[in-house]
């Protein structure tokens, strides 16, 4: 996948995690995943349409999600509930919003869909003909996987 589409999502993830939760993320080894991704306990899915199109996924454990949202809200949340679900979806939305804003500034105007949250580990998600790249981020709250499966609208599959 074109690195011009990858970097905005990585830098937006760094920014949002730092600004929202004060967390510094460290990038692991990027993997090309072909067309399938196996879900984590929590997976946020956001569609991208426009001059760049496809799907962006964020996968993390319930524990990581709870720790992140607890830190942002400044209160201890004991278990995964609709508030944590909403918070993780919003973080995904903010990362995708920041990234697509940068893509637009670089000449690739695009829009994002509202986030969808998949609850359950081990579900195979197909990005259907758009090859995905997995970027693992290590944080003090646990790992977060970002899968970016995007292509330029006019390009050949």
């Amino acid at each position: 996948m074109d690195v011009r589409f990858l970097n905005p999502f990585i830098s937006a993830a760094y920014n949002v995690l730092l600004e929202e939760a004060g967390v510094t993320a460290k990038r692991g080894e990027v993997k090309v995943d072909e067309f399938y991704y196996t879900s984590e306990e929590i997976t946020v899915l956001i569609g991208v349409t426009g001059s760049v199109r496809g799907l962006v996924l964020y996968g993390l454990s319930q524990g990581t999600a709870i720790r992140l949202v607890s830190t942002i809200l400044g209160k201890k949340i004991p278990y995964f509930d609709s508030l944590v679900e909403s918070g993780i979806a919003e973080l995904g939305n903010e990362i995708a919003g920041g990234a697509t804003s940068e893509l637009e500034a670089n000449g690739y105007p695009c829009r994002i869909s509202p986030p969808t949250v998949l609850l359950g580990k081990g579900v195979i998600i197909s990005t259907v003909n758009i090859k995905g790249v997995t970027v693992p981020l290590e944080t003090e709250f646990g790992p977060i996987q970002i899968v970016i499966a995007l292509r330029e609208e006019s390009s050949e599959r």
């Binding site: 949202v69 942002i72 979806a89 919003e90 903010e94 919003g97 920041g98 697509t100 804003s101 509202p114």
Partner: protein, 126 residues
């Protein structure tokens, strides 16, 4: 810290954003009320007459722009601050042209959000 009589209506379909904004504002002395969509926001505006409305743009049932128009129809002096994700600034500017007082961009910086609300409330008499 602000006087508790200053009422802010927080409108967002995301529970997390409502909880977060409400916590920040109530910790800073505001009386906070919540609505989950534009339609609820219009009803609560008429019922509560808040001093400031923090209005998300993309929401189900009735979006933020439509709710802004409805509120201004009923109260042309309403102080509505639009809340927008990065990449939606053009919509926020459209809202400003339609009568919104200001806009703040997500992710919110607490001090920016508080300043926007304070600025809007500072001309309450207008």
């Amino acid at each position: 810290m602000v006087q508790g009589s200053t009422k802010v209506l927080v409108v967002d379909d995301a529970m997390f954003m409502r909880v977060r904004c409400s916590k920040l504002l109530s910790e800073n002395g505001y009386s906070v009320f919540e609505a989950e969509n534009g339609e609820q926001a219009v009803k609560k505006y008429l019922e509560l007459k808040p001093d400031v409305v923090l209005m998300d743009i993309t929401m189900p049932v009735m979006d933020g722009l439509a709710a802004l128009t409805e509120i201004l129809k009923n109260d042309p002096n309403a102080k509505v601050i639009m809340c927008t994700a990065l990449g939606q600034q053009s919509v926020a500017l459209e809202a400003i042209k339609s009568g919104a007082r200001d806009f703040v961009t997500k992710p919110y910086k607490p001090e920016k959000l508080l300043r926007a609300v304070e600025m809007a409330t500072s001309d309450r008499s207008q």
